[in-house]
Subunit: 451 residues, 2 copies
């Protein structure tokens, strides 16, 4: 397209008067500051390229702690500290999955052990694959058909939902429960089709849970491998052989990183945060490096624009969201113990994509008040205030009765790359990332002023 | 993030009754059909990978004509035909731009001649670079300071606008007029900073125009080269040397490709289209391969779902949008000559990104009617009906008083890759592309039913 639009400058914000006009002008200042001078994109490059992925308990996570501490100071925080938290240490190690078809030859499949899964202890574990398309189909299988088998849960990610989180939610039980369900009927290990919206061969890891002491391995394969396996199984028996070394290696002392600018009127706290840990593949760029650098951008923008914050604006870089939520739980526990008044907490943990809305997990009165600000947000493409969930790390705060929220970015690309080798800096767009930071700053500006 | 949303299925569409309920159900059918069975993504792979870029007058454009004809037949068109149109033949050929700094060595810069520009005829043309930051600055320069010089228009793409089309519109005059302005004051050729929202070294081509017979060359460099040049020019004189072979090589007979499903009630026409040509770099994936495959998807979806269309639904794959708009002009001329009643025409030529709205270029009454359907679109993330432009190819129809429109996708990434080597299939996301096709089908379903 080559169309040249008229260059008439539509004033950002709305042609309104008084209070709303003042807010509209402040919204435009925030957006202009961040789109032109925001550092989130360059900081994300540092985090992903200099440190890379950073699973809880790893040396790279500790490097990320030091990095985040420094970035919060650079952004102008009045106070920066580390919050101690014990985190699980899960290690992947070397792993391989092979199949043998009727031609008698072994073939390697691209795979990832699921996070928190135990491995085979470096030994080969093999058996015949049986495939089910759904939980209902699996439930009907008698144990004798599962005993000593490898169960392949080939449940596809639903393409039908417009918000891909719903497709993810729909398929998630396969990842969390496949191993325990397989173990209960005497199977040797479980293979799942990745929770992926893409039709490619990228395996997605992510956390699983054991329901009891029978801890057998669970691994994921990409969509095309899953389809090929299903096709092969139509005509022949297939043996799978897994060799893996993953497993839990106890706990370790680690830290969430916290920085704040002190409230000018009182010390009530408004939290904005993301999680500093990531899975141990790719670079944790969208999940959740984006959320970390956006949260730091909020603090920097308040400082740079000299906004007089009534309340304390606090950035929390949570430890261990991915496989334990120990950082979120510890933060909530500390708030409760110290009886520290929190007005509002928002997380950004759904990717650094163009923002579309804010999900509001709070009572109706507060939700309606925020929704009444919708006209201020609309010029920034923020129109969606209907959802009612909030970030995982914030559930402990929610349980204390604190209004919580989450940034809602466009969800179309997230589950193509989520928890994979493909979640890299190159997949993040500068303007999309910065617009998310702008939305966060705008909502916090409004909360700080009105609550 | 690992949050698992509740799997409660929110019924797509709205809990409403009667007519609106019927429409809501049809919207969900359209979306589900396209997200699950849509072929647009695979067709785009064919167009971009088997044919590639396809400038008017090139052999690859003619291949694209044959391909589009076949795809329209495959999609179930009742009638497919080619519309003859004479198109300009512009050829790039070999080209290079070098600079010599104070160290006396020549250095090559990444560059692209602007589309429609004449070259140097294979000879070296060199001179000292003078830089201006804006049109206003250039206007103040006396001709003697420009004579025999190379003028470097280093006007940055504004990051401030939320819709990047506005930043593009703001900077576009530099691309269209730099050569003629430079020639008027006796300069040898013009260099422009690319119309790019990215901070990288990718040059963007795109059409320019000569205002008179003094046809000197114009070329574009990427953002980082522009910044480096500006930095060098602070401390030293720089000589630039251009050698290029581009230029207009007359005209050629070519074709727009048209396919339709006949109206069941009457033969009034509803048009959906994009342009089949692209610039001669990259693969023309977002611009506008996406629009072509989305338009074909609309037709296929009407057929596959057995929707009884009252009026004729016509797909137009316009020739020569990029450097002449001859296809759009010829289509409008034919409509006028044949007095062919058109109810509505919509173009998709702003990239295959997640759709956000529909821009409506029509009288207030019709615009308001479409806006009254907003609740039907909202569950699909379509909320923005405020813009009032339509696609370039549709201006001739607009001039005939026909209501015209354009799909409005998210604009954040478009001008990073627009008219560059980077506009490739890999930059298009399957779900984003298909959602755009779904929105187009939904609006045409409503127009067909209500107009």
């Amino acid at each position: 397209m080559k169309k040249i639009l008229g260059t008439t400058l539509t004033l950002l914000g709305l042609a309104v008067f008084g209070q709303a006009k003042e807010d509209s002008i402040q919204f435009a200042k925030i957006s202009t500051e961040i789109l032109n001078k925001g550092k989130a994109y360059n900081e994300l490059r540092e985090l992903t390229k200099n440190i890379g992925h950073r699973l809880s308990g790893s040396a790279s996570y500790e490097k990320a702690v030091t990095w985040a501490e420094q970035k919060l100071r650079d952004a102008g925080a009045d106070k920066v500290w580390l919050q101690e938290v014990m985190v699980p240490v899960w290690v992947r190690g070397k792993e391989s999955l092979q199949i043998k078809t009727s031609n008698g030859k072994w073939k390697s499949l691209k795979m990832l052990s699921l996070g928190n899964s135990e491995g085979t202890g470096g030994k080969n574990v093999s058996g015949e694959i049986i495939m089910v398309r759904s939980m209902e189909e699996y439930d009907k299988l008698p144990p004798e058909q599962v005993k000593d088998k490898i169960v392949f849960f080939n449940y596809p990610f639903s393409q039908t939902y417009i918000e891909t989180f719903r497709g993810y939610g729909d398929a998630a039980k396969y990842r969390s429960t496949a191993a325990s369900l397989t173990a209960k009927k005497g199977g040797k290990f479980a293979i799942i089709r990745s929770l992926s919206s893409a039709f490619d061969d990228v395996p997605h890891t992510g956390s699983m849970r054991y329901q009891d002491d029978k801890k057998i391995p669970a691994v994921a394969v990409g969509s095309t491998t899953a389809d090929e396996l299903a096709e092969l199984l139509k005509s022949q028996k297939i043996t799978a052989k897994l060799n893996s070394n993953c497993g839990m290696k106890g706990e370790k002392l680690s830290h969430s990183v916290i920085g704040e600018i002190t409230g000018k009127k009182d010390k009530s706290v408004i939290v904005v945060g993301g999680h500093l840990d990531s899975w141990d593949v790719g670079e944790g760029a969208h999940d959740d490096g984006s959320g970390i650098v956006q949260s730091i951008e909020v603090l920097r923008t308040f400082k740079n624009l000299g906004i007089q914050n009534n309340h304390t604006i606090r950035v929390v870089c949570f430890a261990n969201e991915e496989n334990g939520v120990k950082g979120g739980v510890m933060y909530g526990k500390t708030v409760k113990e110290n009886n520290e008044k929190h007005l509002f907490a928002i997380e950004t943990d759904a990717g650094g994509f163009t923002p579309r809305g804010i999900s509001l997990d709070m009572d109706n009165e507060k939700r309606k008040q925020i929704q009444s600000w919708a006209d201020l947000f609309l010029p920034y493409g923020i129109y969606d205030f209907k959802n009612t969930y909030s970030g995982t790390d914030l559930y402990p705060l929610h349980d204390l009765g604190i209004p919580t929220a989450e940034l809602v970015p466009d969800s179309q690309r997230y589950f193509d790359i989520h928890h994979t080798e493909e979640d890299t800096f190159e997949k993040v767009n500068r303007r999309e990332l910065l617009l998310g930071a702008s939305t966060l700053t705008q909502i916090i500006y409004m909360i700080d002023k009105n609550w």
